[in-house]
């Protein structure tokens, strides 16, 4: 049977293989065609505009703005600075999308052929693609493995190279220049929060990060590590280290003076060569060699830095606090830990993703706060929470130029006033309540040691409770991150407060405001309802019944044996 069809089977397999390879091999887009235009206008034009200028009807509510294709500035490339991307680069971005932006991956909704057609069509918006058909690609062959030593080296470079100025001390995008940045088109742009690798536009693998250093992120303020602007370009790593040492000295001896002068001469020579290359000059062998040596150092340092940046984020985005990941407050006997107590380190945080509030005007289409992480302990009388969220700026009171309203960083933690009994019982509307009221803890950056209790029946219908419970709070802002500690009694005398009991699952939701992003009143980031529970102390019966059952079973086995023996004899 198989023999009879052998040839047919073989041929089918061959054809199947050929079709697989013809797709995988297609490194270059086809000629631009009507098909590409059709797909572009159906799927891309509403953001990127019919003319490719990044001005589609959705554009004004998006940040980052959709790319303007007419200037050939592409952020995510495998090519060197100033080069256009390869066709494969464009294809990959269309396929995978850009995390942290509104650009989705099109792998499920467009066929590979359609995506290649779009690549061809997009290229017609910029003439540079015709002039440069073979852009220089970044050499990835010198990759330095992800390891402790390399990460340490990268960490030192992070400060030396000035990454801190935008990305902040520990990389949360909170550097001093962060609020001042604009892109090539004049729109505000924020430096990446390097602790949230899942928002990296071009991926969070070491190679991805390395390519951003060498090729830059075109159109954004992120500089490319071009040779001549690179710190100590032309020096070896050892020489560079020595020069930093010399520069840090208060006074130099004559010999040291000469030594550092020699270093500067060497650097000037290297920059000179780099400039001659950009002017298109052909170099002699010796100059070429010294340029290659200098670039080798730049590449090595970039790999170390890429490894360091990678080390700042968790492997992947944490799982939201749903189902088994629900927030569980842990019981401890005695005093609850205060802010900064080591006891908090023993808990795993629950992750609550936040989303722009686009339900009521004024809406927030471009949120800057990604999530809030929460930990909690309770004892017989009180509960303590630790809320942690990243915010690139510390805004305590700044007037909005357009509306004159005071902008300020803040957070609100929301509970129902009464816990719904059973899964089908009504809950208050998740957006600050409605027919049923919600109970809120409101905290703002200008009064870090105060949490105000509110009752709300809707986002514009909130009032400060007349009777304020004895809530303790302490909030701090360090390196682009807020930590807010709140403690309250499990039970209060106020009927408008939530009363807490162990083992009862309580709905919880969040609102947060980033003043520097224009968040005020309804304009904010929000979450839908999640749940938290005061995790019951595990029943001590777990040490009594199981051994009892085991003992009984031993008895039963012996009994069975005795019975069988008696029957036998």
């Amino acid at each position: 049977m198989i023999r009879r069809y052998q040839n047919t089977i073989f041929l089918t397999l061959l054809l199947a293989l050929a079709s697989v390879f013809s797709v995988a091999d297609a490194q270059n887009a086809p000629e631009a065609s009507e098909e590409g235009k059709r797909v572009y206008e159906k799927s891309c034009a509403h953001c990127h505009g019919t003319e490719g200028r990044g001005d589609g009807s959705a554009a004004e509510n998006l940040l980052p703005r959709p790319r303007d294709f007419t200037r050939g500035l592409y952020k995510i490339r495998s090519t060197e600075t100033g080069q256009v991307p390869t066709d494969q680069d464009l294809f990959d971005i269309i396929t995978e999308g850009m995390p942290g932006t509104s650009m989705p991956g099109w792998d499920t909704s467009l066929s590979a052929n359609e995506r290649w057609e779009v690549v061809a069509y997009i290229k017609t918006f910029y003439d540079g693609f015709k002039e440069n058909t073979a852009p220089r690609q970044i050499d990835l062959s010198g990759k330095i493995a992800y390891a402790e030593q390399s990460i340490e080296t990268g960490k030192a470079l992070y400060t030396e190279l000035g990454c801190v100025e935008c990305h902040g001390n520990v990389g949360r995008g909170d550097g001093t220049s962060a609020p001042t940045l604009t892109d090539e088109w004049g729109f505000q742009t924020w430096p990446a929060n390097l602790a949230q690798g899942w928002t990296f536009r071009g991926g969070s693998e070491t190679e991805d990060i390395f390519k951003r250093f060498i090729g830059g992120i075109a159109g954004s303020p992120m500089p490319a590590f071009e040779g001549d602007s690179f710190l100590h370009f032309g020096l070896t790593s050892e020489e560079s280290k020595r020069l930093t040492e010399l520069e840090n000295k208060d006074e130099m001896t004559e010999a040291e003076d000469e030594e550092s002068a020699a270093f500067y001469e060497k650097m000037d020579a290297a920059v000179d060569i780099a400039l001659r290359i950009t002017e298109g000059e052909t170099l002699n062998a010796a100059d070429r060699q010294s340029f290659n040596n200098a670039m080798k150092v730049v590449y090595e340092k970039s790999w170390h830095l890429a490894n360091y940046v990678k080390s700042l984020s968790p492997e992947k985005r944490p799982e939201p606090a749903i189902g088994n990941n629900a927030l569980r407050s842990q019981y401890i006997g005695g005093e609850l830990p205060t802010l900064g107590d080591a006891a908090w380190e023993t808990l795993k945080a629950s992750y609550f993703p936040l989303v722009g509030q686009v339900i009521l005007e004024p809406r927030q289409f471009n949120p800057t706060i990604d999530s809030v992480n929460v930990k909690s302990f309770y004892n017989d009388n009180e509960v303590a929470f630790l809320f942690t969220w990243d915010d690139r700026t510390h805004t305590t009171a700044s007037e909005d130029e357009e509306t004159g309203k005071m902008l300020e960083d803040a957070v609100a933690i929301q509970f129902p006033v009464k816990v719904p009994q059973g899964p089908t019982a009504p809950k208050p509307y998740f957006l600050w309540g409605g027919r049923l009221p919600v109970y809120l803890w409101y905290w703002k950056a200008s009064a870090p040691e105060q949490v105000t209790e509110l009752t709300a029946k809707g986002i514009s219908n909130a009032e400060v409770q007349a009777v304020q419970s004895d809530l303790q709070a302490e909030g701090t802002y360090t390196d682009g991150q807020y930590n807010l500690w709140v403690k309250r009694a499990l039970k209060t005398d106020d009927k408008k407060d939530l009363q807490l009991e162990p083992e009862v699952f309580v709905p919880i939701a969040f609102s947060a405001w980033d003043g520097a992003n224009g968040d005020v009143e309804a304009k904010r980031v929000i979450s839908s309802w999640y749940t938290f529970v005061l995790e019951p102390v595990p029943s001590s019966r777990r040490f009594i019944y199981p051994p009892l059952v085991a003992l009984l079973s031993v008895g039963a086995l012996f009994g069975l044996r005795g019975f069988a023996r008696r029957r036998n004899s």
């Binding site: 509403h46 989705p104 189902g323 686009v358 009521l360 957006l431 049923l436 199981p546 085991a550």
Partner: protein, 258 residues
């Protein structure tokens, strides 16, 4: 090869069935069976085995023989001891796992497509009966294709200025805000959505949003805005035209069987 005893065969059938129902069906065919249903099937299998072994006296004795031997034969001492340790330990572990189990938060039972009210309204204005109102621009599809196209284009603009953050570029419910929402935004590419509803139903869902849902639809959880506060009546009808134009799905029309 020694013939398997009847007891071993029954054991193999029992364990085999359990592994199949519990693991193979769920993971390989990926249609997980609820635990209670698995327990029911296993009960049936036990009954079947009992019927099989008790049909004849000789067969029942054959079935019991290995158990009997294990219990008293001198040369089965090792097996006896292993069993005397294994069974109590298994029971210990199982009962402990029951007592140590953590409670899970209550689920969110909800009716994704609850019954609409009898009347279709926009703000307080009554448009007509839910079962009768048609899209006022639908007829252009036949009568005036140019005008129809203009309405679809306007619907496209409305969609990408208001809806796509959640419902997605490709109308697949996977917009960049979607992963953070519970319940998830509707996926219009799902053949179970648009073809199942009349345009008046879609108008009702869009205009009243989450807060306008009846209790069965858990109005307190849905992040769908009340669009009648932000969009005009015509814009809502246009965006409905766009939804069906983009996905290629026609909404249900009146007069079709239920």
């Amino acid at each position: 090869m020694k013939r398997l005893s009847l007891f071993t065969k029954c054991l193999i059938i029992f364990v085999g069935c359990w592994v199949f129902l519990r693991f193979i069906v769920g993971n390989v065919i990926s249609v997980p069976i609820p635990g209670s249903v698995v327990a029911m099937y296993m009960g049936l299998i036990i009954i079947a085995i009992l019927v099989h072994i008790s049909v004849e006296d000789s067969r029942f004795r054959e079935f019991l023989r290995p158990i009997h031997e294990t219990l008293i034969d001198d040369n089965k001492r090792l097996r006896r001891r292993v069993i005397a340790v294994l069974i109590p330990f298994a029971l210990l572990a199982y009962t402990y796992s029951i007592f140590a189990q953590r409670a899970n938060p209550p689920g969110n039972p909800r009716d994704a497509h609850p019954s609409p009210p009898l009347e279709l309204t926009y703000k307080d204005e009554v448009i007509g009966k839910m079962q009768e109102v048609e899209n006022p621009f639908r007829h252009y599809e036949k009568d005036d294709p140019e005008a129809f196209k203009a309405h679809v284009e306007n619907g496209r603009r409305v969609y990408y200025q208001n809806c796509f953050y959640c419902h997605g570029d490709d109308l697949d419910g996977q917009g960049h805000f979607a992963p953070h929402l519970q319940p998830l935004p509707a996926n219009f590419q799902d053949p179970g959505i648009i073809p199942n509803f009349q345009e008046s139903f879609l108008f009702w869902r869009i205009s009243k949003g989450g807060p306008g849902l009846p209790a069965a639809g858990t109005p307190w959880d849905s992040a769908m805005p009340v669009w009648e506060d932000m969009l005009t009546k015509d814009e809502i009808w246009d965006v409905i035209l766009f939804l069906s134009d983009y996905t290629g799905y026609q909404p249900r029309t009146f007069g079709e069987g239920h």
